[in-house]
């Protein structure tokens, strides 16, 4: 069951520049900041209430995030819904014939995550996440 909006993902040219707005001007605390090598991104989570804003800066040019940035420019990239069981959500999506990007959940900044293809969502990229206990 999807319980809440975990975060909205924003693709940016420079995470350091974006932090000047989201962290410094808005005053949102950074809860995670790391380079995810296999995804080719630097991801930053900033907390706001019970949700977060995720800034994504590509660290190389051969990734989906880099292609998004090149073709569309900076902007909102995806919406992530939190679930207490991402495996179950993924299986339910598969059973409904929803096109998947990730065939099984994988570790991500928000915990165990998986992405569903925009083709199955009228063009909206959707992520499911189950935070890992003890993480941020």
């Amino acid at each position: 069951m999807l319980t809440k909006v975990h975060h909205v993902g924003i693709v940016v040219h420079s995470a350091d520049e974006a932090l000047k707005f989201y962290r410094d001007a808005l005053g949102l605390p950074v809860t995670a900041d790391q380079v995810i090598e296999d995804q080719g991104v630097r991801g930053i989570l900033l907390q706001i209430g019970g949700s977060e804003i995720e800034l994504l800066e590509p660290t190389r040019n051969d990734t989906g995030v880099a292609r998004f940035l090149e073709s569309r420019g900076e902007g909102m990239h995806h919406i992530c819904f939190e679930s207490d069981d991402v495996d179950k959500e993924l299986e339910a999506a598969r059973a409904k014939g929803i096109e998947l990007i990730d065939e099984k959940p994988r570790p991500g900044l928000a915990g165990m995550v998986c992405f569903l293809h925009p083709k199955s969502n009228h063009g909206v990229l959707i992520e499911f996440a189950t935070p890992i206990a003890g993480s941020h």
Binding site: M1, L2, T3, K4, V5, V8, I10, V12, A18, F21, D24, A25, L26, G27, L28, I48, G49, G50, S51, I53, L55, G73, E74, G75, M76, H77, H78, I79, F81, A93, K96, I98, S120, N121, H122, G123, V124, I126
Partner: protein, 138 residues
Amino acid sequence: MGIGATHIDHIVIQSNDSAATAKLFADQYGIEIKRTMSRPGTRAHLEFAKLQEVIVEFAGPGEVQPYDEVKARLGGFVLAVDDIHAAVTSLRESGWDVGEPHPAVQPGALITGVRGRTNGVPLALIQYNARPLEENSQ
């Protein structure tokens, strides 16, 4: 520093057929649509879901054409703040261009937009139970 933002109030999903997109999210993901309305003064068709504190707003035209393909995209988000006037002042002092707060569709609420330098994200601020504008100007 900061603007006293308490939570994401709502996230907008723009669609050329907002009813169809809302139905898709409901059917595929069990996201319950709680409210449907036409935006006052416009013919926009809006549908709303709420997951805890965050509203997901599906927004589209009032008259839907027979589209070959329904297309939707993330259209921005709105942050709730404790004091919209203080938030506007803070952002302006930090160099951001922010509009004047004005009455929102929601009764008793004031809303305004941040104009640019938000990394391509249409972003607004809203305060519920705001003091009336004339009171603030005194």
